[in-house]
Symmetry: D2
Subunit: 92 residues, 4 copies
Amino acid sequence: MDDATRTNAIHRLKSVAGHVNGIVRMLEEDRYCVDVIKQIQAVQTALGRVSETILDSHLRTCVTTAIRDDDPDDRERVLGEIMEVFRHSDKS
Amino acid sequence: MDDATRTNAIHRLKSVAGHVNGIVRMLEEDRYCVDVIKQIQAVQTALGRVSETILDSHLRTCVTTAIRDDDPDDRERVLGEIMEVFRHSDKS
Amino acid sequence: MDDATRTNAIHRLKSVAGHVNGIVRMLEEDRYCVDVIKQIQAVQTALGRVSETILDSHLRTCVTTAIRDDDPDDRERVLGEIMEVFRHSDKS
Amino acid sequence: MDDATRTNAIHRLKSVAGHVNGIVRMLEEDRYCVDVIKQIQAVQTALGRVSETILDSHLRTCVTTAIRDDDPDDRERVLGEIMEVFRHSDKS
């Protein structure tokens, strides 16, 4: 992954960790269940965005290099990995 | 996409269409809501599987060709398309 | 589920079946993989909407009746069913 | 939500925050993109489990109380909230 993507992902994940700690406090203060669930869903969405930016960078760097390369095993490996990531995200 | 994948996808989608018509009959017979919802979710899962097989074949054919090719616009296009497909499937 | 919801769901599912048959034709005409995948994803979205309307009606009819009723087993059953439906839809 | 569920959710969310900080370290150490994405997906799954336990408890407490109550606005509100939660989790 390129540096800008990594820096950006670190920044976003630190903010996600803060968000999760905020939800812990909501629970400690006995806040309304549905408000807690909505915050958890917001964190899931934020994490999805981070995955996307990393995957996008991954396709443009490692995957492109592996596919342009002449090692069929390597090519097979990166394509298999993309399918695994996709399968996890597509579950309905 | 390769021929085997296409033939397989056609076969599965015809079966999905039959499954959907079966759900229409369940509704006409006033079957229990939850049973209907579960069948709809099963169809969504089956469709996800078809998408996966097509994407897998797409990566090994069109995407590999475009990336190994020397047209940067073409490469950009196929990578952007994969991200669109991924974004749609990853929504939480 | 109420009659309006059932009629509406039947209508939408017939249209979904037509959409799926249209995707079969796209495959038979060897259309571009990504266009096929996008149509499959559109069908998944449409099915999600049908599930939602049925679940909404289910909550207002069967679930409300069972919870206001005095049979604890029945109450337990309907709540367990909602959780099952939710678990299937929430997979990331 | 009941106390056991809240205690359990706090515990799990603290562990999620730790997991997210671990992913930040993976990025700082420049670990392989796909390994990072898989860890993010694991966190999303863990969060989904927390939402489920809170929703389950919510149905058995607040929702059951509101539905057995005689205030139609309150009943309408809790059912609407469940649909919102469901809609967010069901996005394909």
